[in-house]
Symmetry: C2
Subunit: 141 residues, 2 copies
DNA sequence: GATTAAATTGAAATTCTTTTTCAGAATAGT
DNA sequence: ACTATTCTGAAAAAGAATTTCAATTTAATC
């Protein structure tokens, strides 16, 4: 955990930025929270521990993390962008339209087929998102 | 084309709505345009032929079409929601991050695998979106 | 440790899309 | 025609994302 933040701050310093106490705190809270957080979500968490940190810094920190490849943003269609750590393996999402819970899955065969589709269309893949919307196990009860 | 609009207006009337000249015009333009249009896009097209029609009516008409299942909305991550006809077969999208062009594909095996994933997770699928982002053939030149 | 240049911060302002409100116009039924 | 309800367009509001800017913090230099 600390080593990850070290790595991030190092990358930042190497690109002429400075490492600030505030940003470090936001990053810590982000990775310790886990899950799929909106800026607002993370801001609330941060505020609890560090009441002086502002919304914009949380917003900017998430942007930085995304740019450096340590966070991924996803749009689950509920109005606000969500962010999750990019330290774990790539995966796609099952999104419950009843409770909003987000489940994760990884299906290698789908990934392979995507590459096939891309090749057929002479398309160079940079990224993809597969969102499956529906009703989760809990909400079916 | 006219028969589709007839069907839509019929459905509307059956649910206590009225059929208006204005909405009919917007629907006509929408289906005749084709493609993946934002509200703004369609508004521009409508404005050209019918200068008196307002933005909000275009917005509302697209909403109605979506509710009735005649249009589908998709978010390609460029800030505004896009709409396309739902009269054609389901498909997914290849989105060029250079030129913004949107290509379509349908891969039955991916669909099958999605159902498999859902079953494994006791998840009842209602919908899904698979967006592949990258560089299209044209833009690779 | 003081000095300085550059980056960071938080609040406020701005931008941009989406959505709601509301008074007047159009529509459908009597 | 009369009436009730829906529809329309402009304007306002809502909401998220982003920018601006003065004050503060940081990193490097003296
Ligand atoms: Mn995830
Ligand atoms: Mn399409
Ligand atoms: Zn659920
Ligand atoms: Zn392209």
């Amino acid at each position: 955990m600390d080593e990850i933040i070290e790595r991030i701050e190092k990358e930042l310093r190497e690109s002429g930025k400075k490492s600030s106490r505030t940003r470090r705190k936001v990053i810590e809270v982000f990775f310790s929270c886990g899950g799929h957080l909106s800026v607002e979500d993370l801001y609330r968490e941060v505020k609890q521990r560090y009441p002086d940190i502002g919304y914009v810094t949380v917003y900017r920190t998430l942007k930085v993390l995304e740019e450096l490849g340590y966070a991924t943003s996803l749009d689950v269609g509920d109005g606000s962008t969500r962010f999750e750590t990019a330290l774990r393996q790539h995966h796609d999402h099952l999104i419950c339209t009843v409770c909003g819970r987000i489940y994760e899955f990884f299906e290698p065969e789908i990934e392979v087929l995507q590459n096939l589709v891309a090749r057929k269309n002479d398309f160079r893949i940079l990224d993809h998102t597969l969102h499956i919307f529906g009703i989760c196990k809990e909400c079916q009860k």
